[in-house]
Symmetry: C2
Amino acid sequence: MDAAIDLSDASKALDLANIRFQLIRLEDTIIFHLIERVQFPLNQTIHVACGVDIGEPTTSLFDWMLREQERLQSLEPILKPLHYPQILHPNTVNVNAQLKDCYIKHILPAACMQTDRGESQENYGSSATCDVMTIQSLSRRIHFGKFVAEAKFQQEMDRSVKLIKDEDRKGIDEAITNAAVEKKVLERLKLKAKTYATDPDLGANESSKVNADAVVVMYKDWVIPRTKEVEVEYLMQR
Amino acid sequence: MDAAIDLSDASKALDLANIRFQLIRLEDTIIFHLIERVQFPLNQTIHVACGVDIGEPTTSLFDWMLREQERLQSLEPILKPLHYPQILHPNTVNVNAQLKDCYIKHILPAACMQTDRGESQENYGSSATCDVMTIQSLSRRIHFGKFVAEAKFQQEMDRSVKLIKDEDRKGIDEAITNAAVEKKVLERLKLKAKTYATDPDLGANESSKVNADAVVVMYKDWVIPRTKEVEVEYLMQR
């Protein structure tokens, strides 16, 4: 799904204030989807090839759902192609395989820890649908790193070109890292996860709909590092 | 999508405290989906037959997306049929056609009022996807009325049977109406919509992600009356 950013206007798409607004807004989307997902048990079976027999021996129910959902959402046979201006440098950076792996192995089990790690066959379909929404929003967040990288590149052209020419991945990583900003992101996430996971009418009396610490760890250990990977690799292909 | 209620256990499915919990939890789901939807403009074109040419002259992009999405989520060719106990009396009550009509004509335009009533072709697909999620959650909420009705029927069997035999729709409507509870629902909704629509890190400085009054009106004018319709008609078919 497209983010709400206006990609038809190159100057807006690379305005850092605009990008920042979108990244912060995407946090809400990710938390909403994760909250919806964890009302169901972990249902690990849906992530195992042939765990649910869908007639394809190497495909899990989740893989099938993701593929069919993306086929549906791409609307390729239906909508006329949109003409976006060339905003990003042509690149092949895509970390979706790694994202899927850590979502299934780490992010989801941690998020479901305090709710239910069991199985509920009658929610296989709903769980897979929520997984698709969640992983799509995470993917959007992470690959937004390309816009961040491009905007930073254009702001500091000389320094960036030197680092790229030297293939100095570590130097690029340092140049795009801002520890204070990252700390602030994690604090904001915790506050958001707590707020959105609590029925304001019940307040502290209610059990939280999602484990806020798991949301923070998800960003700290997976979302932020993967986003930086995307930024570095995008710049290396520039 | 199935609600998280355990339909495999008839006693839980008809426990009024359980039903109440699910109805309150569904409020969050509905608000989350609506918040996601209204980040895009109204994009009325996607609700008009042939507004977007999908090769079927009487089908809108939204209709096509809803149909394909439900086909995908039903997983019919894939999952073995689940055996639920017979909880509800057999019935044909379904108000989805009316729901779709009022969603497109009233609910969505009101929700998009303060954001953007325009068009953004590049978000047609995303808007339709969010519309499907929102209308599905509304439909679940409204048709949950059948469980409410069944539970109330079993609690007050004699009185219910008399009203049903007399075909006293007005009497049934009065019997299931609790003005104090409805007032409380609307107050809670307003609080939830305000809370979830506000970035807690920015607080009052941020423009709200959704118009809380539109959420309240949606429930007051459409969700609650349609739910009661479902309850009354379900009982009339009993």
